[in-house]
Symmetry: C2
Subunit: 288 residues, 2 copies
């Protein structure tokens, strides 16, 4: 059960965008798909919804290849930066058309969301600002009867109030009607609490495929006088370092080897997901 | 000294975007300009750089009106979403042209920033992705010899690593060469620590003009059983409320009236700037 991506490779003219990528999405979970700009996230999501085709590899949903299978594709919705909608069409008409296409649409919830976000469904798609086009697509994503919702940069152009409202609605909707979400965003800090499992894509490869709790349980910052910090962290997996005068912080991903005594002058604290991501994917990170 | 915005009003065909807006920017401070989508932030910054003209009111720099005064305008740089650069021009050539226009440009710092952000200065502007166009404009903003730098959505398309690098460089550059920055962004949480003073614009009016420390010193969340929280916060300036089962959180902006005894079952904690902003600018907020 679920979506299985098997050994997917995608090349554009000069460049290999995805290199032999494999992973699985289980039903009813919330995933994060993280990566630097240009890591291949959007290409991957487009392949997983059959909008573009891999040079190699296959994507299946419940064991059936999605490629050109409308029954499978009808269970997946990709919300992306690309605007696929006719500019002259009104919001309400686009909702209706999607209902036909996907065989269902939660109209009462859409009405409630339009009110909460103050989106007038009589407006034409072309009249909407960047923020409101995002809101329109988010409402679509939350109201269609699909099992897999992929959100590529879901908060583009949203102000802080609208972002908070969206995160709240996503969780409410998920708890009423569990399904799988994949959230790809650069504003990691704001979604970190929602994510159960994270994929980190780097240079077209899966760098991390792990549960968030497990990842964070191995992520530490050791701060204190430079020499003491270096001595204590020797041999550990240092993924980043920062200095402030003669103070130093070493970022560790992995076991701390905690049998040893901890020097009084150093402090051990936790890293949040965004900070961990930054250090895992920065130039010169040792995990590469 | 500084920039003075006096009674600025701006109307577009059907709508008044700015209504009698007045405030001052002092030299060498870091300001935040916050507001919901459509509040008038970009219009205001465009008026302050003479890109568009107000229907009423005036903007001065050190006592001299900026309108059509090149000497004044040469001391201000506005980095915005609008791309004013020729797509065929190479990054290096655009830096050189700006040097002529502004009478100076920190070329060695620009070179260092290009390396840090991995921006190839031989590329043409039109070849850059959204993220790299942003990076190009940020380098311009940090390297020009201006006294006032306005940054309108400075992190558009930047991944978490590039955002962190930009915040660090902004602070480094500011400490070496103090000048005034105005940062307008929706990702408030990430810039909150840098801001000394905040303007909140709402529906074309200045809602808040205050130091960040002072604002946050009056911003509390009172959580606990609903009835106890309501009783304790009665008469206080409640700007928002959240519920979770029979627990409740009331968001307060103002004095707590602390002579009273605090019930054991309630907790008082601080609000961060983004949360405060959300509650100040949400529908039905009592400060309006």
């Amino acid at each position: 059960m679920g979506i299985k991506v098997s050994e997917v490779t995608k090349k554009f003219v000069r460049k290999t965008i995805l290199k032999n990528v494999s992973f699985e999405l289980e039903p009813n979970r919330i995933y994060g798909l993280l990566g630097r700009n240009g890591a291949g996230k959007s290409t991957l999501l487009n392949i997983m919804t059959d909008r573009i085709f891999p040079n190699d590899g296959v994507v299946t949903l419940n064991g059936v290849a999605i490629h050109e299978h409308d029954a499978q594709l009808g269970k997946i919705y990709l919300m992306s930066e690309v605007n696929l909608y006719q500019k002259r069409q009104r919001v309400a008409a686009l909702f209706k058309a999607s209902k036909l296409l996907y065989g269902g649409f939660n109209e009462s919830y859409a009405k409630q969301l339009c009110e909460a976000f103050e989106l007038n469904p009589k407006l034409r798609f072309g009249q909407l600002s960047t923020g409101y086009r995002t809101i329109f697509k988010l409402i679509m994503a939350l109201c269609l009867p699909v099992d897999y919702v992929f959100l590529d940069e879901p908060i583009l152009g949203l102000d802080a109030n609208h972002r908070e409202l969206f995160y709240k609605e996503l969780l409410d909707s998920y708890s009423r009607h569990p399904r799988t979400f994949v959230i790809s965003t650069h504003i990691i800090e704001e979604v970190a609490n929602m994510l159960e499992h994270v994929f980190v894509l780097e240079n077209g490869k899966i760098l991390i495929d792990d549960d968030v709790d497990r990842m964070l349980s191995q992520a530490y910052v050791i701060t204190g006088p430079g020499a003491t910090v270096d001595a204590y962290t020797q041999g550990l997996n240092i993924i980043g370092t920062e200095s402030l005068g003669n103070l130093k912080g070493n970022y560790i991903f992995g076991n701390l080897n905690d049998d040893r005594e901890i020097p009084d002058t150093i402090q051990i604290s936790r890293m949040d997901l965004q900070k961990l991501f930054i250090h895992l994917t920065s130039e010169g990170s040792t995990i590469k």
